[in-house]
């Protein structure tokens, strides 16, 4: 079976005054139907750009994107429009991603109007159904976003994304702006929807405990590149890349009996403008050696577990 989405050597460079900013640099992955790919990394690692590039919200610089086996790298305008029915996005900030002058039902109906082909009554019925699906009470139909709390606003965002019955949704930090108790409600909703509609998610986040929870496979990004990719449990059980190790050890665990040793990273993320060909994590890595100046390739350490570090074997045994 062809995977739902296949991305090969995707690149997105931005021109800046100081040179080329490598936001996404040579990223490849495949995503099967009904699965969730988690993309994690810190601010500026290119995870959001990756999601947006896949959807053609920003035009990719180079590479290949296949959706259901079809090459969608350079779609025509009309094709793109058709494509977007199948590929949707949920944004991070439910406070700024909604039009403040549209009521809840107007906002949810908007995608239906844009697609066309439905009568007003049909659209209204569909909107009500969507509100029900995402757990928005019908009394909010004529409310404006500012009257609602973050959790409800995010439900509007989800309803909008679902309106055209997409197959694939990029979720860009959908719960990061929400309180934990609300966050749990939204995550459960997203899991239910995935089951009900067979959705495929690309879940972009910096919150590692959330990503482990929701993903089948996780990709760790650093400065535009994938440094490690593995099935969710495998990544947490057998972390190989020094950056992923530091990242996982930095998550504060709400348990006082499991004090782990934090791996403290030196310094901060370096500039993605005109990066050197070698390992991008080198400057902060405790294991850096001469050979790290060479470009790093993703190597399969065990079935399905990829790591881009030339020293991972030595590190593993040490």
């Amino acid at each position: 079976m062809t995977p739902l989405l296949e991305v090969r050597n995707l690149k997105k460079y931005f021109k800046t005054r100081y040179g080329l900013l490598h936001a996404v640099d040579d990223v490849s992955f495949t995503l099967d139907r009904g699965k969730t790919l988690g993309v994690v990394g810190e601010s500026g690692c290119g995870k959001t750009t990756l999601g947006r590039t896949v959807l053609h919200l920003t035009e990719p610089t180079d590479g290949q994107i296949f959706f259901e086996g079809r090459d969608i790298m350079y779609p025509k305008k009309r094709e793109l429009r058709k494509l977007r029915e199948n590929m949707q996005i949920i944004f991070q900030d439910p406070y700024s991603s909604l039009n403040p002058r549209m009521t809840v039902s107007e906002a949810i109906m908007e995608p239906l109007i844009l697609r066309g082909g439905m009568s007003n009554d049909e659209m209204l019925a569909e909107t009500r159904k969507l509100m029900d699906t995402v757990g928005l009470a019908s009394r909010f139909e004529n409310s404006y976003p500012h009257e609602l709390d973050g959790g409800r606003r995010q439900r509007i965002g989800i309803a909008r994304a679902l309106a055209l019955k997409p197959k694939f949704i990029v979720c860009d930090e959908p719960v990061s702006a929400l309180d934990v108790s609300i966050q749990a409600q939204i995550i459960n909703l997203m899991l239910d929807l995935q089951e009900e509609f067979g959705l495929t998610y690309m879940f972009v986040t910096h919150d590692l405990s959330v990503v482990k929870y929701i993903s089948d496979e996780i990709m760790v990004m650093y400065l535009g590149q994938v440094v490690e990719k593995a099935p969710s449990d495998e990544l947490f059980a057998n972390t190989l890349h020094p950056y992923s190790k530091a990242l996982l050890s930095a998550i504060p665990i709400p348990n006082i009996h499991k004090k782990r040793k934090r791996i403290l990273l030196r310094g901060e993320i370096t500039s993605p403008v005109n990066p050197k060909p070698g390992c991008r994590f080198m400057a902060r890595c405790d294991y850096a050696r001469e050979e790290c100046n060479e470009p790093q390739v993703l190597e399969e350490s065990s079935p399905g577990h990829f790591v881009a570090c030339c020293r991972y074997k030595e590190i593993m045994t040490s």
Binding site: E42, S43, D149, G150, G151, D179, V180, S181, I182, Q183, A184, Q185, I187, N188, L191, H206, L208, S209, V210, K212, Y213, F236, A246, L247, S249, A250, I251, P252, I253, P254, N255, I256, R262, L264, L265, E268, I269
Partner: protein, 324 residues
Amino acid sequence: MDEKLLEIRNLAVEYHTDEAVVYAVNNVNLTVKKGETIGLVGETGAGKTTIARSILRILPPPTARIVSGEILFNSTDLLKLSEKEMQKVRGNKIAMIFQDPMTALNPIETVGFQIAEAIQRHNKITHFEAEKRACDMLEMVGIPMERYSEYPHQFSGGMKQRVVIAMALSCNPELLLADEPTTALDVTIQAQVLDMMESLKKRLGTSVVLITHDLGVVADTCDSVAVVYAGEIVERGTVEHIFDFAAHPYTLGLFGSLPQLDSKERRLKPIKGMMPDPTNLPPGCRFYERCPEAIKECAEAPPPDVEVAPGHTVKCIRVKGDAA
């Protein structure tokens, strides 16, 4: 260690707006011992920041009113001090770190100057000496002093937060109020900043009130915890008690909502519903509507603080004093 540094008694704060009165903090009692780190945990709008701001008396003036209560700091009631006396406390005896380091710094002054300014404000020393101490402070938080004359925009988020911490600690305060100091930072940077705060705290003996919504951060850094819900402290105890023997249904709900790294379960257990409207609080328990354990009596009168173990109190009539 057992000496009381700060004692808040029956604090109540209201915000008066044109439409309604917001009951932000209601009858809060809280004690901070010398050298202790206490975590104030709760959701957005629970009143955590309002409590911290009341201690420094920096609530927005026309709308916010401290209706009742006492805030005893080294046995003086801060609420009775004149504005002039209060200025000697702010930044000097009690300092605060704000959530967003991007807006806490003045964009048109160098970071070094901003730290030196705080030092000179509270100490009778020359500008030269203040500069020297500012340099020391920068080094202490891990910023090379060559960066003294740089502007905030030249620093990354984590570095800015270090500058803010340097500024807050520059006068050796006895109490540090840290309002979500690492929420805006990435996890690896958060780990650096928490680690640094921990070692500075040990060195300087500062007491810390850490406001956060992240129970992971609390487990890592705090000695005791106060859980805030709808303007009240619903549970209070040592970090061991709260994490091992949490008794209030809200605290239990918070723990249940967290995705656990080592859990195999496919569903989270969120708390149903939402926090009550602070302009229209229910007469009984504030958590009544969302509580899985609620009984009729819960809605009738505000629940008392029940001491389930020494130093561990729970605002709930459903827990028994001897149950723990």
